[in-house]
Amino acid sequence: MIRLKKPQDLGAAILFILLGCICLWFGRDYRFGTLARMGPGFFPLTLSWLLIGFGIVIGGLAFSFSEGPKVATPNWRGLSIVTVAIILFGALINSAGLLVTAFVVPLIAAFASTEVRRKEALILSAIVSIACVAVFVYGLRQPIPVFFGDY
């Protein structure tokens, strides 16, 4: 009976094959050229095929030979909150300015940890926000919008 022995390798293989296929599809119009006159498609398309090939082999081997470690359960809370915090930074920095952004982002991010303490996070974020404006805008003179409408 065929049994999945290395779930990690299967995951990796799927990722490789997916990436290879995406690059093949979006690169379908790039001229391949010849060895002597390589077109812009030569390198990426060859790599895509190699990636797919390797992906298939890695995926196939995941079903044979020795047992491998399981894929550890993802920490959805940590990953999603940190990602949301990053996206919030991008969404806020130009419109709301650094003062607000540097307050909201660490405050939201703090909840990625299960040990979060609300009051502590609030105070800390306020300090971070003021310190960031002081250091980056007034200290290092970086061109970052500070308040609403500065951009």
Partner: protein, 499 residues
């Protein structure tokens, strides 16, 4: 002597009051962030990189050197005091360093690490001054086929150093090269894989990739691990090693420096290999190997020296060939490019001031570390006590501001989020990010050199065989790859990684 004349020239440029000040600030910032548990030197340097942008090239390089060595030392400090290695090369330091700390010799272990590193740094600096010009002269003869072969060798070396499956590491290289291709094709002007986004015409920014894959994923992974921090409550007393420790250490420092200087030049993570090699050497040579793992000072002195010597000499391939051997060097390359200097053989010719300035600032960075940081160790220890839940939101927002300020580009922030998610999958599926990042950096150059070689030979792949240097490089790459694939050696490699 050329070496001395050149070094004097470099020091003359760097030794200004202002530059020393920047080096000091860099060193302290580097240690401050580097000492935070769970933040490795790569993330530290990436995060602090923006602080150097506004300065003139030489000052910014001096400050960068300070940050770099500060971060390295910060990593060793966490390894010794709380048994938490910031990066693979300080894993070895944990073994005996933490045990020394438990035996009440924390101060001594920290001093040994700093002194050993300083000595190794001095030797490494001279090493660079002596060998870089030779290599640079040699590389003047290099044409596209040689560069292609050299990059192939570098990437294969990264595969060898990666733990886990060789197949996966190779696939990671292909993936990294593909990500490197995004942007405008130099030869035809065609925008490839840009999906109509104009910010991608110049390619994917380097900092979002490194910060996403290393810095931010590290933050997420630390949230997953239970935060067990066994900071020793004992006060750090006696910052100096006693006579006996001193006697035990100095031969280890010498050997470690030698091993590190040589291995550091190798592409693909010489520092890791060097510290492991030094530890095994010390253990073999010791009269009583059983002391190791229980707080043998040689177990700190050797690997720390080796680590630092390698960190120093790994600049050689970057500065002379323009090829970064590991992720840290890739970061340095990014920093140098931002300062308007494209690392490679031409730097030594065209901008000798920058080249020798960098070499001199490395030495100053090392010196700063010893005279300023070591006495301030008590303060760094206090930083260690800040709980992680309060630290990581600050780290996150500082990283994001750093990434944003390079180009004031929102695209870089979206990319960071993307690479954070991708990097998380890499961790979960046990895929090594290092070959990916190196391939990503080298991607455009590698394609360019391949195309030029093929145009040169009118499509005859034999060009890679007919040129002796190219053939040698490719044969070494093939040989090394064969070594890891062969089962018997593979087993040994796994053992080495376990140790």
């Amino acid at each position: 002597m050329d070496v001395i004349a050149n070094l004097t020239y470099g020091f003359g440029l760097v030794f200004t009051f202002q530059n020393l000040g920047f080096c000091l600030i860099g060193c302290m910032l580097g240690t401050l962030i580097g000492v935070l548990p769970g933040i490795g030197p790569i993330a530290t340097v990436a995060m602090l990189l923006p602080a150097t942008y506004g300065l003139d090239p030489l000052s910014s390089l001096v400050m960068l050197a300070g940050i770099y060595y500060g971060a390295q030392y910060g990593g060793s400090t966490t390894a010794i005091l709380i048994n938490m290695p910031g990066e693979t090369s300080s894993v070895v330091t944990c073994l005996d360093g933490y045990q020394m700390a438990r035996n009440g010799r924390a101060g001594s272990a920290l001093a040994i690490a700093a002194l050993g590193s300083f000595f190794a740094g001095c030797v490494g600096t001279v090493f660079i001054a002596a060998f870089a010009p030779i290599l640079a002269a040699l590389s003047q003869k290099f044409a596209s086929p040689e560069y292609f072969a050299l990059m192939a060798l570098g990437l294969i070396a990264a595969v060898v150093m990666a733990r886990g499956s060789v197949l996966k590491a190779l696939a990671m290289i292909f993936a990294g090269l593909l990500f490197g291709i995004v942007g405008t094709d130099v030869q035809t002007g065609l925008a490839r894989y840009t999906f109509g986004i104009s910010e991608l015409w110049d390619g994917i920014g380097f900092l979002p990739v490194v910060m996403g894959l290393f810095g931010i994923v590290e933050v997420v992974m630390n949230l997953e691990r239970p935060q067990e921090r066994k900071l020793l409550d004992t006060k750090i007393t006696g910052l100096w090693p006693n006579m006996q420790e001193f006697k035990q250490c100095w031969p280890a420092v010498l050997r470690g420096t030698g091993i590190g200087s040589l291995l550091g030049i190798l592409p693909g993570g010489g520092a890791v290999l060097a510290s492991f090699a030094s530890y095994t050497t010390e253990k073999r040579l010791a009269k009583d190997p059983s002391r190791f793992g229980k707080g043998a000072p040689e177990g700190v002195a050797g690997p720390e020296s080796a680590n630092n010597a390698a960190a120093q000499t790994s600049f050689i391939p970057l500065l002379t060939l323009g090829i970064p051997g590991n992720v840290m060097m890739a970061l340095m390359m990014g920093a140098l490019i931002i300062q308007g200097m494209n690392p490679g053989a031409a730097v030594l010719d065209k901008r000798p001031d920058l080249f020798w300035g960098i070499v001199a600032s490395m030495w100053i960075g090392n010196l700063m570390l010893l005279v300023i940081n070591l006495p301030m160790i008590g303060m760094w220890v206090k930083v260690l006590k800040v709980p992680y839940r309060a630290l990581f939101p600050i780290i996150l927002v500082l990283s994001l501001i750093g990434i944003y300020t390079i180009n004031n580009s929102l695209m870089d922030i979206w990319l960071t989020a993307f690479f954070c998610l991708l990097g998380y999958m890499f961790v979960k599926f046990d895929m090594e990010p290092t070959p990916f990042v190196l391939a990503f950096i080298l991607g455009p150059q590698m394609e360019d050199n391949l195309r030029r070689s093929m145009t040169l030979s009118r499509g005859d792949p034999m060009i890679f065989v007919n040129r002796p240097i190219t053939l040698t490089l490719l044969l070494i790459a093939a040989f090394v790859l064969l070594l890891v694939i062969l089962p018997s050696i593979r087993k040994k490699r796994e053992e080495a990684f376990q140790e």
